[in-house]
Structures are given as structure tokens and as C-alpha cells.
């Protein structure tokens, strides 16, 4: 059973099917009682959304599967406490954000350890080879160096296509704060993305 379409967003980058709230509530109730079929339906419906969001948040491809599993472990474990106080997807995004933050901290630690042991990764990109992979890597590095709060709002608004009010609900802050963060996030992102790139180099991007 496909429970409902991903019901989110401002109409950008989303399917436009209507979310059947009643069906979703019924599904959650079944999940709470331990109905494995319901768990499977819920996972089938929301796993792609969670994985995609985690990948957009900069979780490396090799870690996305594991991170996504962790998110759903939390979902199934604490679904009984969810009680529809907010939209399920809002909760799912929150879990993804905390999982991504956890991985980011772990990556930082790994990098610090690698530096201590003299095994610093040489996988830095350099030069002006504007292949698709190169662009991806540059964006990823820019995201990695951004302030986490800026990074999160930027991904949710500019990539996920979420409404500002929805982002405010996910982050638990007023919409004006989201708007302000978006402003500075964009400045920071552009600065980091094009850092060290000459105007010619920037212009050579296909």
C-alpha cells in the first residue's frame, strides 16, 4: 500500500498528490501496535524521502544507507510518542537533521584523528576541472564548511523546496529567523563555493 504522496513543499520539486491524513493516521496507529505490514508501508513510503534529504545534507553516499536506517530505527522506536502532534514529515526531517549532525561530528573527529596520525585525506579537489563530479565535490565542500544552521536552512529551502513556515516548524524557530538565516546562508555558500576561483574560472563552469 502506498500510503500517501510526500505531502510537502511549496509546489516545487514535489509530487502534487494529496496526502490522505486519515489513512496516514490509521497507518501510524497500526505501526504503534507493532503491525509489521504497517511498518513496511511506512518505510516504503518515506525511506526515499529520508535518504534523499540525508544525501542533500551532505551525508556521503556510503553512509546514507546506514544513516537512513538509523532514522527509521528512531521512527519505529518512538512512534508511540509521536501522537500526531506535528506532521509526520516534519518529525522525519527533524530526525534526519539530528542524524546528519551526528555524522558531521563524527567526520570531524575522524578528520582530526587522521591529521594526528598524518593520514590526512588527499582527496581535495583543486584546479578548475569543472566536470560534474568536480562541481558536486565543490558544493559538498562548501556545505561542509558552512555553519550547520545555515547549511540546514539552505538545503531545506533551496534543495528540498520546503516552505519557510515548514522549516520554522522543523527547526523550532520563528519564520523570521529562517528568513534571516537563509539570507546569510546564501552569502556564505556563494563565498565558500567560489573561494579561490577566479572570475574566469567561475565563468568557465558549464
Amino acid at each position: 500500500m502506498n500510503v500517501c504522496a510526500p505531502c510537502r513543499s511549496n509546489g516545487r520539486d514535489v509530487t502534487t498528490q494529496t496526502c490522505q491524513i486519515g489513512v496516514v493516521h490509521g497507518l501510524f496507529d497500526r505501526c504503534v501496535t507493532g503491525d509489521r505490514e504497517a511498518w513496511r508501508d511506512l518505510h516504503r513510503t518515506y525511506q526515499p524521502i529520508a535518504c534523499r534529504f540525508l544525501a542533500r545534507l551532505g551525508v556521503p553516499g556510503s553512509d546514507v544507507d546506514d544513516a537512513c536506517q538509523e532514522v527509521f530505527v528512531q521512527v519505529f522506536r518512538y512512534l508511540g510518542r509521536f501522537e500526531h502532534r506535528c506532521d509526520f514529515q516534519t518529525w522525519l526531517y527533524k530526525l534526519c537533521l539530528s542524524q546528519s549532525a551526528r555524522l558531521r561530528r563524527r567526520r570531524k573527529l575522524q578528520r582530526a584523528l587522521a591529521w594526528l596520525w598524518g593520514h590526512e585525506s588527499a582527496a581535495h579537489t583543486a584546479g578548475h576541472d569543472w566536470t560534474d563530479r568536480m562541481v558536486e565535490e565543490r558544493v559538498r565542500r562548501a556545505f561542509d564548511r558552512m555553519k550547520p544552521l545555515h547549511h540546514e536552512v539552505l538545503v531545506m529551502f533551496h534543495l528540498e523546496g520546503l516552505e519557510g513556515d515548514e522549516i520554522a516548524r522543523i527547526l523550532g524557530c520563528p519564520p523570521t529567523t529562517v528568513r534571516r538565516r537563509l539570507h546569510y546562508a546564501r552569502q556564505e555558500f556563494e563565498q565558500l563555493l567560489w573561494a579561490g576561483t577566479s572570475p574566469a574560472g567561475k565563468g568557465s563552469a558549464p
Binding site: H43, A55, V135, F157, H158, L182, R186, A205
Partner: protein, 439 residues
């Protein structure tokens, strides 16, 4: 930064510049998602694997505390108990050790409880809501957790519970035979021998009920005991000794009985209840309403409504039963339980039409019964938006609470706002309070 839709910026990904292009390429590289089936298997494996590890950690960390407790519980003077919830109250035991902090109080629940009852395994468990339970061998108990309330049904055996301080609106309910213990407070001891049940409350309040009938509310430094060897008092509920109704009347409408034929009518409803299914639920509901409205047996009605809720937790008349229980509890003086019930109801139905009335009722209980003006003010504030008399009362009583709390400026503002509205019911009293605050 160009903006649209209420000052929100345009989406970078849709822009044609280099930044937009870079973002689109990055986004294109994030589309691949892992196999859903494999991922689901991984989730299940993690879910099934973790609690075991957690239990091991709990077991290793708390063995020193649990072992002496187990030995004490299994000593010969207190024999193992057996029985079923429906048989009698003599087959139950619960022992709440006071003033001993739970060794595992800071741990995450080791067993996930939902709305459906789950059989508890023996051994030590961290349950929802900061409750630690230890079940000895051969103990049979189920538990469920719903809207902040932990409901444990002890069928037989021994259970040791550590209950952390409860917030108002949350509760731990333990059903043992015909007796029900509502843990409103925090620390109490309940000990059992085959002949005696002793309750000693160290802190807070514990409500004891039997078959839906309120037996006692035991406050701190008070004790309550019952000699289980004595025959149980006769139930005041109607219908227990009702003559059996002839078979031919069962299929007819129970409402056909006259006002004098109370026992027959109750017996008729009970026969229909025994059939189960939606008709059984309706009959149970009708019986409860009959006991409440016509027989005016509130205790019996409450027991009937509670029976309906436990037998048909998702029945079509569940909400009506919830409302009826909420209405009856304060009339029986069981205010703490009324707070628990109303909170559960409001959590489950945040948009209920009568939420303002319920908030007003909760405010009154907090203010008049528990003298908790802070909580009362919050409740009145929630109900202040309502129209009519409910909103009127809520606004005035909120101001009264603010005044009692010494928040003079807020109280003055609240009275002023209240008096600014036309046709208020407490205008004269509000003016008097305003004058007093102005002095």
C-alpha cells in the same frame, strides 16, 4: 536577493546563474537511494538487536542492587501468588520501595509500549515514563502506554516498581484483581501477604479503587490496609443478583422495561453485552448511561464505562465513554484521576469542541481542590478564547489566579481586558478586585 511569496527569497536551484547550475548538478548526484528492501531488513535487524544489548548493560550495571531485592522478595514468608484479574483481589502483590532512586532511571525504555497491551517479560525492565519494573519468575503482567499514562495489569506473581515523580496529567495505573491503584504521587509501598494488603504512602497521593468503586485516597504519611481473608463486601452495583431474564426477552429492546424493572433491564443489557461486537459495545454503553442517568449509581456507571473502554478501546462509542468518565470522576470526588483523564482526552483530541469546557474544569480542580494557582492559570488561559459563559468564566478566573499568585500587573491587565467586554457575568466582582489592586 529577489523575493517573492511574502518576502521569501527565490530558490537558488531554479536560477540560471553559476550557483544555480552548481546546485542542480550537486542535487543530481544525490538522487540515488539505497535498496528499500535491504534498508528495511537493516532497520529490523537493528531494532531487534539493540534492546538485547541494552538489557545486558542494565543487567550488568544493576546486578548488585537487584540481587538483594530479589532475595528479599522470594523469601518464604511471602509465598508466590497466583490468580487471574477476574478471580479475586487476593492473588496480587505489588511492592513499591520508597525513597530508593531507580538504578536505571536515566536509561531509555528497554521495552517499547504502545496502545496495545504487551506481555511483560520477567526480569528488570525500564518502562516508559521513567518507571522501572522488576518481574519475578512466573509473574504474568501486561502493560501499555497511552497519552502519558502507564497502565499495568498484574495477573499473577510479583512486580516491583520504582515510580519517578509524576507530573500532573500523567499517571501510573496498576490493576491487580479487583483493586486498582492510581499512582498520582511519587513514592509508596504496597506489600502483600496472603491475608493482607498494606499500602503506605510516603509522598504524594495514591487512589485505591475496586471494581470501579473508589475505596480510598491515601495521602502522604497515611496507611491503608485490607484483610483479604475476610469475605469481600457485597458490591453495591445493581444487577449482580438480578434474576435471569427469560430467553425470549433478550432479542427485544431493553428499553421496554418500566422504571420499576431496574434489575430486569440491567440483566437485559448484560445479556446483550455478553454477545460482544458492535452491539455489545452499544449495550455496554447504554447500560452505563442507564446506571448514571436513571439509577443514579455513579460508581456502577463509572465501572461500566471503564469496562466499555477496556473491552472496546477503539470502539465507535469510545469518545462518548471518555467524556462520561471525565464527567463522573469529579462528581465522585476523584479529582486527581479527573485531571489524568482530561489530559489524556485533550492530548488525544486537541481540537475537541468542548476543549474549553475541559480546560475550565481542570482549572477549577487545580484552583479549588489542589490550590495550585499556577496550573489553574494556565488552564484558564487555554480556555479563555472560548465564546459564551465558558470563556467568560475562564477569563475572570484567570485574573483571579494571577492576583493570587501576586502577579499584580498581569492581574490588573486581565481584569481590565475582562471588563472591556460587554455583558460579562462577573463584572461587579472584577471591578471590586480592580479597585483593591489599585490601592
Amino acid at each position: 536577493m529577489s523575493e517573492q511569496n511574502g518576502n521569501w527569497p527565490t530558490v537558488m536551484k531554479d536560477e540560471s546563474g553559476e550557483t544555480g547550475t552548481a546546485l542542480r548538478r550537486y542535487d543530481g548526484g544525490t538522487k540515488a537511494t539505497p535498496s528499500e528492501a535491504n534498508a528495511y531488513s537493516g532497520v529490523l535487524a537493528k531494532l531487534e538487536g539493540r534492546p538485547v544489548r541494552l538489557r545486558w548493560r542494565i543487567a550488568l550495571g544493576t546486578t548488585a542492587v537487584v540481587l538483594p531485592l530479589l532475595l528479599w522478595l522470594l523469601r518464604p514468608s511471602e509465598s508466590t501468588i497466583s490468580g487471574s484479574p477476574a478471580s479475586s483481589s487476593s492473588g496480587t502483590m505489588a511492592n513499591f520501595t520508597p525513597a530508593t532512586p531507580s538504578p536505571a532511571s536515566g536509561l531509555a525504555p528497554s521495552i517499547q509500549l504502545g496502545m496495545a497491551p504487551i506481555t511483560l517479560p520477567t526480569g528488570k525492565l525500564q518502562l516508559a515514563g521513567g518507571v522501572t519494573a522488576m518481574l519475578t519468575d512466573a509473574t504474568s503482567a501486561t502493560a501499555r502506554f497511552q497519552q502519558g499514562t502507564l497502565d499495568i495489569a498484574l495477573a499473577s506473581g510479583t512486580i516491583v516498581l520504582h515510580v519517578l515523580p509524576r507530573e500532573i496529567g500523567q499517571a501510573v495505573l496498576i490493576t491487580a484483581g479487583h483493586h486498582r491503584f492510581t499512582v498520582v504521587g511519587t513514592v509508596f509501598r504496597l506489600s502483600y501477604t496472603p491475608r493482607r494488603l498494606d499500602l503506605s504512602v510516603i509522598e504524594g497521593l495514591v487512589a485505591v479503587s475496586r471494581g470501579g468503586e473508589h475505596v480510598a485516597t491515601v495521602a502522604s504519611d497515611e496507611t491503608w490496609s485490607i484483610n483479604l481473608a475476610l469475605p469481600a463486601p457485597a458490591s453495591p452495583r445493581h444487577g449482580d443478583a438480578a434474576p435471569r431474564v427469560a430467553r425470549r426477552t433478550l432479542q427485544e429492546n431493553c428499553a421496554r422495561f418500566t422504571a420499576e424493572q431496574t434489575q430486569q433491564k440491567i440483566a437485559c443489557y448484560r445479556e446483550q453485552v455478553s454477545k460482544g461486537g458492535p452491539d455489545g459495545e452499544r449495550a455496554q454503553h447504554m447500560l452505563a448511561r442507564y446506571l448514571r442517568d436513571d439509577v443514579v449509581d455513579l460508581t456502577g456507571a463509572l465501572a461500566a464505562f471503564e469496562s466499555q473502554r477496556s473491552r472496546y478501546p477503539r470502539g465507535e462509542l469510545r469518545v462518548e465513554a471518555d467524556r462520561a468518565v471525565i464527567e463522573i470522576l469529579p462528581r465522585l470526588g476523584r479529582h486527581a484521576e479527573a485531571l489524568v483523564e482530561t489530559q489524556s482526552f485533550l492530548d488525544a483530541h486537541p481540537d475537541a469542541e468542548d476543549r474549553a469546557e475541559l480546560r475550565l474544569m481542570r482549572g477549577d480542580i487545580f484552583r479549588a481542590i489542589f490550590q495550585d494557582m499556577l496550573s489553574a492559570e494556565r488552564e484558564y488561559d487555554e480556555g479563555a478564547e472560548a465564546d459564551g459563559r465558558t470563556g467568560d468564566d475562564s477569563r475572570f478566573l484567570r485574573a483571579l489566579c494571577l492576583e493570587s499568585l501576586g502577579r499584580v500587573n498581569e492581574a490588573r491587565l486581565a481584569y481590565r481586558d475582562y471588563l472591556a467586554q460587554a455583558g460579562t457575568a462577573h463584572a461587579r466582582e472584577a471591578q471590586r478586585h480592580m479597585k483593591r489592586l489599585a490601592q
